[in-house]
């Protein structure tokens, strides 16, 4: 088996909530609460979960765009949470990110040329002509043309902008790209274009992706392994086929059954969850899912289940598979 390119151990990110008479901290949002996983070189790890479950925070913490509260992040065996700003800055050419919103993630006042050549410049490509060449090359790689370079982002459609974002991420030949919902703002017909492009690029440049999305079909389509998050925690992580064919965690099951399928012939036995996702500032005790879980047991209210490998390469955090039940 390949070496992991990225290892995340016990990652936590708590945001302070301020209030009260002195504006002191009166609580915290546990956006990411003890998440661990690793990503192999060349693989695509998908992360799914409902809105607010901490997917983006996980992604940004890995790149230290948000400083994690606790835990370690190892990139190519180097522990990066302890790096100085300058060391981190240098390392960034190897780790990139693509954002969800193709409108907000490009500087509206820069030309495409400038947007894509900037990372080149800051990582040492001082020659203007060289940069121009590279920009053209990158544009073509993502399916745009050299003449697009002189335009501004507002002159492009959503899909095209996402391509520009990808070109920018590719500029310095990174090894790892965190994709934070890169296609969820796009229309179906464009979404498939981008998904295909990303797959091609992975093969072409031997990239590793952490692919964040809330659309299970999309994640399934693109990933090798998939992790499911709920309320800041990873509840299940395994190969995609295993996950979709044999989901272990009740939440995963509910999630899968809730996806409407564009096929009138598929008969589904629906498992409709009751209620809403609890607030991450006040997550339920024990297993965070126990308030909505149809299979909840007494132990679920009190003990937080361990995230354990219950089968080969299949991690689940659920008491159904823990020693308590077995």
């Amino acid at each position: 088996m390949q070496k992991p390119i990225l290892e995340v151990n016990g990652l936590k990110k708590y945001f302070d909530i301020k209030g009260g008479v002195f504006g002191r901290k009166i609580g915290e949002v546990k956006a990411v609460d003890d998440v661990s996983f690793s990503v192999m070189s060349g693989e695509i790890l998908g992360i799914v979960g409902e809105s607010g479950c901490g997917k983006s925070t996980t992604g940004k913490s890995i790149l230290r765009l948000i400083e994690p509260s606790e835990g370690e992040v190892k990139f190519e065996d180097q522990e990066i949470t302890k790096l100085s700003d300058e060391e981190m800055r240098k390392l960034r050419r190897n780790m990139q990110i693509i954002f969800q919103d193709p409108y907000a993630s490009l500087n509206p006042r820069h030309t495409v040329e400038k947007i894509i050549s900037e990372p080149l410049l800051i990582h040492g490509m001082k020659n203007t002509k060289e940069r121009k060449e590279r920009v053209k090359e990158l544009l073509e790689v993502v399916g745009l043309s050299g003449y697009h370079a002189s335009r501004y982002p507002h002159q492009f459609s959503g899909g095209q902008r996402q391509r520009i974002g990808i070109a920018r991420a590719l500029a310095n030949n990174p090894k790892l790209i965190i994709c934070d919902e890169p296609v969820s703002a796009l229309d179906v017909s464009v979404q498939s274009q981008i998904l295909n492009l990303m797959e091609d690029l992975r093969d072409q440049f031997n990239l590793t992706y952490v692919f964040i999305a809330h659309d299970l079909s999309v994640v399934k389509h693109i990933s090798d392994r998939v992790g499911v998050m709920y309320l800041g925690r990873m509840v299940e992580l395994t190969d995609k086929d295993k996950l979709y064919d044999d989901p272990k965690h009740p939440y995963t099951r509910a999630l899968l059954s809730a996806v409407p399928l564009p096929d009138p012939d598929v008969e589904k036995d629906r498992m409709i969850l009751k209620g809403d996702v609890p607030s991450p500032s006040n997550p339920p005790s024990g297993c965070a899912f126990h308030t909505r879980c149809p299979l909840a047991m007494d132990v679920c209210k009190e003990v937080r289940p361990q995230f354990e490998e219950i089968e080969d390469n299949h991690f689940v955090a659920c008491h159904l598979y823990g020693p308590a039940v077995q």
């Binding site: 409902e50 809105s51 459609s157 899909g159 095209q160 229309d187 179906v188 017909s189 464009v190 979404q191 498939s192 274009q193 998904l195 295909n196 797959e199 809330h214 299970l216 079909s217 999309v218 399934k220 389509h221 693109i222 979709y244 509910a254 999630l255 899968l256 059954s257 809730a258 996806v259 409407p260 399928l261 564009p262 096929d263 009138p264 012939d265 598929v266 629906r270 409709i272 969850l273 809403d276 996702v277």
Partner: protein
């Protein structure tokens, strides 16, 4: 076969902006029968919302205006109805819910106030009666602790709850038609499942006709009887849900369905429609989809395709559906489709 309560004929709704006239809805025709669930699907900007707002006479004016066409609601043309009449119809006979449950409720008034308002606009009832009715409605849409929620403000509720409240408001006067503009797009899948379930239930119990607007074919498959596919301000295909999903005739519908990643199928390279949706503009000649179409031929540049009738009352706006060319379709598909 039951009667058609809403018939839209050749509707043209244009926006008159600084950058010229935009034909957002360009000759749309569709109809809904009593108790039926009709879906409108299509990509962003194809005119779904404008169509639905046109029915409600809620097009922001200026810059929008219904240029021509009729919207026939039980024999009455809404396009020319008086303001007073429109107010009577809105929320009472036809009501509407919107995509963003987060912003569709007035943040400064309690839930109770806003439902009550919907009732008292149309019914001469006391505040108390209206209150009772409101609580009933909240219970109907499955809100727990309905009495308490009456005194809550929108921000105290989750997105799913808010969408339920919106449905409660819309259903408060027992409308004959409920127009739902992407009611679940902003919600998580687990919540979406809840809402769709609720809408299906209401449709069955109250026999309310539903016009459901969405871009998610999955949602359509879930609850619609009939589907209208829109592209660039026009209807391009119409038929029953099963027909459209299983046997799409228009190249656009075909492409759309094939480009979806499938949850229960083995991986294969996704199909993708090349290019992007054209921006609507005046005086376009020819098929709007031609630049992205794999069956494009000369005629697509010269004529505007009409909605050709197919078997089972199906419609498709493609020359390939023209009888004369019917064969070509089959052949072409046989060639490329596999």
């Amino acid at each position: 076969m039951t009667e058609e309560i809403l018939k839209i004929k050749d509707l043209h709704t244009h926006f008159f902006t600084d950058n010229g006239e935009i034909p957002a809805v360009d000759g749309v025709s569709l109809s809904i029968k009593k108790g039926e669930v009709v879906g409108i699907v299509g990509e962003s900007g194809c005119g779904k919302s404008v169509t639905s707002l046109s029915i409600m006479q809620l097009i922001p004016s200026p810059p929008g205006k219904i240029v021509s066409g009729t919207i026939d609601f039980k024999g009455e043309n809404l396009v020319h109805a008086s303001n007073k009449r429109i107010k009577q119809i809105r929320g009472n006979e036809i009501s509407m819910i919107f995509q963003e449950p987060m912003t569709s409720l007035d943040p400064l008034f309690t839930i109770g106030n806003q439902i009550r308002e919907a009732i008292r606009i149309h019914q001469k009832v006391s505040k108390k009666e209206a209150n009772q009715k409101s609580v009933e409605m909240l219970k109907l849409v499955g809100i727990p602790r309905a009495e308490e929620v009456m005194n809550d403000y929108p921000h105290q509720l989750s997105g799913g709850m808010r969408q339920r409240v919106m449905i409660a408001i819309a259903m408060a006067c027992d409308p004959e038609i409920l127009i739902a503009d992407e009611p679940t797009t902003a919600l998580d899948v687990t919540i979406q499942a809840q809402i769709l379930d609720l809408m299906k239930k209401l449709n069955e119990e109250k026999e309310t006709a539903v016009l459901l607007i969405t871009h998610d074919l999955g949602v359509v498959a879930e609850i619609c009887d009939r589907v209208v596919v829109m592209y660039a301000g026009q209807v391009v295909e119409e038929g029953t849900t099963r027909e459209i999903l299983k046997d799409p005739r228009h190249p656009y519908s075909q492409g759309l369905i094939r480009s979806l990643p499938k949850l229960h199928e083995k991986d294969q390279k996704l199909y993708s429609i090349p290019g992007t949706v054209p921006k609507p503009k005046m005086g376009m000649v020819g098929c709007r989809f031609r630049d992205r179409c794999r069956f494009v031929h000369e005629r697509c540049y010269q004529e505007n395709p009409e909605l050709f009738s197919l078997e089972n009352n199906r419609l498709s706006r493609c020359f390939l559906s023209d009888d004369a060319e019917g064969k070509v379709v089959k052949d072409a598909e046989a060639n490329i489709g596999s």
